[in-house]
Symmetry: C3
Subunit: 364 residues, 3 copies
């Protein structure tokens, strides 16, 4: 399956890119090199020298430039070769592709499509990743599965009752609850309220509850694969607008295809500053890692099964409404990009009608 290209993909946490030196990660099957210029700006170049295709990340940073470690070509932050050792001139076509970069709230994004369409207004609102009111520990997992299967997982929380029975779930009532699905710009909103259930195991340490709680999960799931979620739980006896004794969480998660069969999973879940000290956030992070390993084990087993019989049909059930709608959004976006005749590989190629139509598709 092709990728949606005209969108921002998270490539790294801000702290992963060193102040000085090179960082490489593959996105949509393209090796990408990140480094900071002396003024702190992050640059993204195709991690592949135009000369003999060696990864530039095996070379070294020199000021605002990067030198290939094989034969010494030097590239500036615009991807232009500015020095060929042993040669007085540099061919015009000696250059590597660059990618538009955006940093928002500790997330570093690259734009994988038509550079002229890169628009920071399209960045997701991951506010709790950089807010004085929220506190968290940043997370990353590598998946040996296609990105789509991980998005599917995040789109249907009925799995919490089974995959995460002893961690995030704690009750079959989550699977029983009907989810409300609505369109939002660039994605869908999923709202699930679960009444009068025991507090889930991972609430331990966050708050203590004498009895049952009402839980809520309200999240936007946005192209290309980003979840932004408010969730929480409050004593059943409290009024709906009384959050004084509630657990309140905000989570930002995004899944970036590394290749067609592997993925990057970035995640965090914030608690409100003031609800205990930072050790609460650390405990939350540990719970999340345990739960996300449960997901990874299941999704990896599922992917293996699919890989050995790729034509096996899936059976769509009522619980798959969000999965089906989001897959349709992805397909529309891909179709629109391809009809528009654009492929948008890195630096500035292919400006077409596709993106405009994509926007239309996502917001109706």
């Amino acid at each position: 399956m092709p990728y949606v290209r005209n969108c921002w993909y998270m490539i790294a946490w801000d702290h992963e890119v060193p102040r000085e030196g090179l960082f490489a990660r593959t996105v949509l099957s393209e090796g990408i090199l990140l480094y900071r210029t002396r003024d702190g700006r992050i640059v993204a170049l195709r991690d592949r020298c135009c000369h003999r295709l060696a990864p530039l990340s095996k070379g070294r940073q020199e000021g605002d430039c990067v030198r290939c470690g094989y034969h010494g070509l030097l590239f500036d932050a615009n991807g232009r070769c500015v020095e060929v050792p042993g040669s007085d001139s540099v061919p015009e076509n000696a250059r590597v592709a660059t990618y538009p970069v955006a940093v928002r709230n500790k997330w570093v994004f690259v734009w994988m499509g038509d550079a002229s369409r890169a628009d920071t207004a399209l960045l997701p609102d991951n506010f709790s990743c950089d807010s004085p009111e929220w506190d968290y520990v940043p997370g990353y997992l590598h998946y040996e599965t296609p990105q789509q299967l991980i998005c599917d997982n995040l789109l249907d929380f009925s799995h919490l009752s089974y995959v995460h029975e002893k961690t995030l779930g704690g009750s079959t009532a989550i699977a029983q609850a009907r989810a409300l699905i609505e369109p939002v710009p660039g994605g869908i909103r999923v709202t699930r309220r679960v009444k009068n259930v025991p507090p889930p195991p991972y609430y331990r340490g966050l708050k203590s509850f004498a009895g049952n709680v009402d839980r809520w999960f309200v999240y936007d799931f946005l192209l290309p694969g980003t979840l932004l979620m408010h969730s929480g739980g409050r004593p059943v006896e409290d009024a709906e607008d009384d959050l004084s004794r509630a657990v309140r969480l905000h989570s930002c998660q995004t899944v970036t295809p590394e290749t067609e069969t592997t993925s990057h999973y970035f995640f965090q879940q914030s608690r409100r500053v003031g609800d205990g000290d930072h050790s609460i956030a650390e405990g939350l992070y540990r719970s999340l890692v345990v739960a996300f390993e449960e997901d990874r084990a299941m999704i990896t087993a599922q992917a293996r099964e699919i890989a050995r019989d790729p034509e096996a049909p899936m059976l769509a059930l009522a619980m798959d409404a969000a999965v089906v709608r989001f897959r349709r959004l992805v397909q529309s976006a891909i179709d629109a990009e391809q009809e528009g005749g654009e492929r948008g590989s890195g630096s500035g190629s292919g400006v077409g009608r596709g993106s405009a139509r994509l926007g239309a598709t996502l917001t109706h």
Copy 2:
């Protein structure tokens, strides 16, 4: 190469399937889940939820049912979905395939073809696996080679002189001896008598012989890949019907394709109860494991060589008579199934003329 489907394939030793809980193994490239209902009967389901293709074996047994560990669908022992969490109704087509199961003498079999043709009269007579007169330790090896190469190995015992020189063989006379080959229902019978040879190394501990022995190997090799063998050795001076001082063994072995390139190898070799205590059977088992590792190393090397040049021809020699005849039986069975238009995937599909003709082929 396609598989013969209308036959029983051993999938497990009886003791491998727990009293309570799930057991999974792949046969003919299909993941299969085994579990026992409360009355002890073994059930075989396709190990793949019809919903999102997760392996059911990652879920859990609930009474006579199994619940998928991903989104909680519940399936009964007939493969019918009986509960979809969050939904009042269950779609008619929410079901997973089942396989006819038979258990005979500690061997658990699944029928991989047209279920209406599953007939326990076709099970092999592995009597020494469950007899008060015979004693053994059950064995299992996993092979990273196609099943066919392991069958080839078992069909030509001339390899005992070379592969097993220091274990089962002990004399080049085995390779020198001519094997008699006869048709039997569903396979061939191979008889090889080796006169006046030193007792092989692995007889040590079974019996002690002052001088040479006469050895015999009489086995049926049956579709899809089962060896049932009487073998032994007696002092050369003893009459042919005098077994009083003889080593007498019975061995049941079967090879089940896991995938096109990997296999399950189940084996045992029984000694007569009364010839020493159970430690004799344990010693025999250890000898066998050593010898079968010799086979596995050789066959794996052979498979690697074939894999990198699949068109390389083999040279048929006189010693290959049984190999050639059995390969022809397999091919006839496959041809008959395919002419009959049947593919027989699990539950009850494709009842055709193929199997009748297969039977004809195998018993003439």
Copy 3:
């Protein structure tokens, strides 16, 4: 890409082939068995029994013959089967291919093409591998990359300044120096002189220099992938013909394709006997291993990048003159062999016009 076949490929160091017993290595995707007859001559047979394709190297040497370890066929040093266990006669076509073998100066070669064209006059002059005037430690590395990329590396020493900055290089002046490229029979000669540079790190222990040195690298790079090099350095104040205080080295290296994606790399670098004791040669070997690991890391990263986008173009620069010319020689040789209609697989097949034309191509 097909291989050049009508040439000698190094398959082993002489010391790797035991006095008694079997040695196997794959060349051009063919498993090859080496052993010595009782008179010490090395024999090369296809390492694959003609019967069931088991590797003969899993069997054993018996005098001047080799016996297959699977079913016992015995082959003589001409690849003829001379015994089939259990059979009085041996089919005429029971034979395995043989390869012409040559040993020169500790290097063992096989001829992979038309045997009638195997000519020891075509062997490279690796004199320093067996000379009373030169001393070295033999080296071998296995590469998980195609052979061509390793040849490319050896054809352009500008990489010394970057890949080997801290080992063999020590100065960007190597990359700055212009290389002179001339045709020689069967390849090209590359001459690079670097004036007035600091002695490179790996000279430490060889000689001590008070100041800068003039360095030289003069090597022939010959089909199918052999480097024969004189190199060294002398104090800048010494006359060009005064080598009294110079470091003088001779290196013989050759790269043999194992498969299309893996390679054997044989190397040595000799120092003059008399310039210190053997520990100097050992130190030189250790330096070389460190540097060649630097190459391997870079070339492996490059190969991985190419493998995931095989159509990505390379940009030819002035420094690639030798790379381009040698690749053209290889292509001409392959074209000539294929036009000549020869494929030359082992024993004596396909005598054609190709080799004569190949010769013409290489010496103009």
